[in-house]
């Protein structure tokens, strides 16, 4: 994956098992979002990305994507927007009763029922993020790709949203996400990949990766890792002077 002479992704070799949750971490510009978009199949690349033995770009798969910066359509309300996720399952025809029921349930679950007639353009950042995740979940995807799914959410909705994603994973879907909040990422994902300058720095089970020296290296030793009484790791940024 290359922009001019700059390789956003370079010599990557990953194997993502079905039904797993993989979390990409790393500093800004490490290539996390580029990797997500390449997985999606909408970016040209050298090499090969294969799902079930089929090159991704050759086949539009049921892959849901939650972008960090979505394009907000003018004049569209929340229920209409979430219904977009059902278009393919409805065979591109009129929306089925099943779809209307599923969208209804999803809006209830994501606490969005009350704002279903609001224009998406008028939502706050956190509300929009929940709407985006609702749209992705009603797709009933086999692979769910999320770019910073919790960055705009308050603490309560962070957990609620990650729980929804986890329940999708338990029903068999594969999850790949980026997350700046490594602590939160380690709580849900069983595998963490640290990326730096388009390469994989470390790849392993969440607990092992989070305590590894490579994590500190990736962030220029500007983080410190603490362990709470209940054994959960917490990662915080440190200032130069300390």
């Amino acid at each position: 994956m290359r922009y001019g002479d700059f390789y956003a992704l370079d010599h990557l070799n990953l194997d993502i098992p079905r039904g797993s949750w993989t979390c990409l971490v790393g500093p800004n510009g490490a290539g996390k979002t580029t990797l997500l978009k390449t997985l999606l199949g909408n970016k040209a690349y050298d090499g090969s990305i294969v799902i079930d033995g089929v090159e991704t770009y050759k086949h539009l798969r049921n892959v849901a994507f939650v972008p960090q910066r979505p394009e907000i359509p003018v004049g569209m309300d929340v229920s209409e927007y979430v219904m977009l996720g059902r278009a393919r399952l409805d065979g591109w025809g009129r929306e089925s009763r099943t779809s209307r029921q599923i969208v209804h349930q999803m809006l209830e679950k994501m606490h969005l029922s009350g704002m279903r007639h609001q224009l998406v353009a008028q939502l706050s950042g956190g509300e929009m993020q929940r709407v985006l995740i609702a749209r992705a979940l009603v797709q009933e995807p086999e692979l769910l790709i999320l770019d910073e799914p919790t960055s705009a959410l308050d603490l309560h909705h962070q957990i609620a949203t990650l729980d929804h994603i986890e329940s999708l994973q338990k029903s068999g879907a594969t999850i790949v996400s980026t997350m700046h909040d490594i602590t939160l990422g380690a709580m849900y994902a069983e595998r963490i990949i640290i990326m730096q300058k388009g390469r994989v720095l470390l790849d392993g089970p969440s607990d092992a990766v989070i305590h590894s020296p490579e994590l500190k290296t990736a962030f220029d030793d500007r983080i410190s890792i603490h362990t709470l009484d209940n054994g959960r790791p917490v990662i915080i940024a440190t200032r130069n002077s300390s």
């Binding site: 999606l40 359509p73 004049g75 219904m83 278009a87 409805d90 591109w92 009129r94 349930q105």
Partner: protein
């Protein structure tokens, strides 16, 4: 009991309402004029019942009024639908059917036909206009080259091609100033040429193009999002964009070559439908087509009757009524938020 499903995003009743509106507006269109025709006799004539129109009235209805109203409906449907589609494809609420140089290309083609000056070229004017429109849009695509997948590049190329074609047209028309009047009146749009021959060929292209666009309406909805999001919904944005632009351009080019340039329909009608139904989805396309047809039939009625027996150019009516109405809807519904 609390409902366990959300309301339909698009209800067939809205479409049925628009169809009913079109039917009544067309009935108005064929009955009004210097010689008024009776409503019930018209319906009986259409249904082939006894007691329909007789003699001259029958000829007036079948050979003049009906083809004219039918052409207005076809052109209105074509312009409104392709306007809505361009607005989706370019993610720009101000996009109109003439955006990619179709209008300027058609104008150049028409001027070329008129400057030849003899009758056979006059008859070929629609063909010239059609070819001009299609060539201009093709040129727009070729110029933007590889980056034609990017809406903004395509739009700017369209503006460049449009300016070029208009400049060339002005040059031709200055060299032969006697064509100024016919060119000008063609540019303002006219439906006086309507006969069954025109309706047959224009109807064919327009119906085919609109059928394609309406069938792919939920695919078009994906283009309202970013390309990555569209892709993740199972839509191939580049392919859909090209099919949509091709079909909308075919409809526009046909409409322009049959009736000249009729502005504003492609912007007013889609926004009206979206504003009144509070829906952004392209599921509205069929309703947009029906409403566009009704809008232009009404505008044509105005152009025939306001200064009767003289005729106002229909483009003047659509802009005159359309512009304030559009502003009203935009303010009331804040469609552009």
């Amino acid at each position: 009991m609390k409902s366990q499903e959300i309301d339909r995003i698009w209800h067939w009743r809205i479409t049925a309402g628009a169809a009913l509106l079109l039917f009544f507006v067309m009935l108005l269109g064929v009955s009004f004029g210097p010689i008024p025709l009776d409503f019930f006799q018209i319906v009986r004539t259409i249904l082939g019942l006894d007691g329909g129109l007789q003699d001259e009235e029958r000829i007036l209805f079948l050979q003049l009024r009906l083809p004219r109203v039918a052409l207005a409906a076809l052109v209105g449907a074509a312009l409104a639908t392709s306007g809505a589609v361009y607005q989706t494809v370019f993610r720009n609420p101000l996009a109109d059917p003439y955006l990619l140089g179709a209008a300027a290309g058609a104008g150049l083609g028409a001027t070329l036909a008129l400057t030849r000056g003899n009758q056979s070229f006059y008859a070929a004017l629609p063909l010239f206009a059609f070819v001009g429109a299609v060539l201009a849009v093709l040129a727009t695509f070729l110029i933007s080259g590889k980056s034609s997948a990017n809406p903004a590049t395509l739009l700017l190329s369209g503006i460049a091609i449009g300016s070029f074609a208009t400049a060339f047209q002005t040059y031709l028309q200055q060299r032969k100033s006697e064509v100024l009047r016919p060119v000008y009146s063609w540019i303002l749009g006219q439906l006086t040429v309507a006969d069954w021959q025109v309706i047959k060929w224009a109807g064919f292209y327009i119906v085919v193009a609109l059928f394609i666009l309406i069938r792919m309406s939920r695919l078009l909805d994906g283009l309202l999002l970013s390309d990555e999001e569209a892709f993740s919904l199972g839509i191939s944005p580049k392919k859909i964009r090209i099919i949509a632009i091709a079909a909308a351009t075919l409809a526009t080019a046909t409409a322009v070559s049959a009736s000249g340039l009729i502005g504003f329909v492609g912007i007013v009608v889609p926004h009206l439908v979206r504003g009144l139904t509070k829906r952004a989805t392209n599921r509205a396309l069929f309703t947009v087509a029906l409403s566009g047809a009704a809008f232009l039939v009404l505008a044509d009625l105005g152009s025939r009757t306001l200064l009767s027996p003289a005729e106002l150019p229909i483009g003047v009516i659509t802009a005159f009524v359309g512009a304030p109405f559009l502003l009203f809807v935009l303010r009331a519904k804040r469609v552009l938020n």
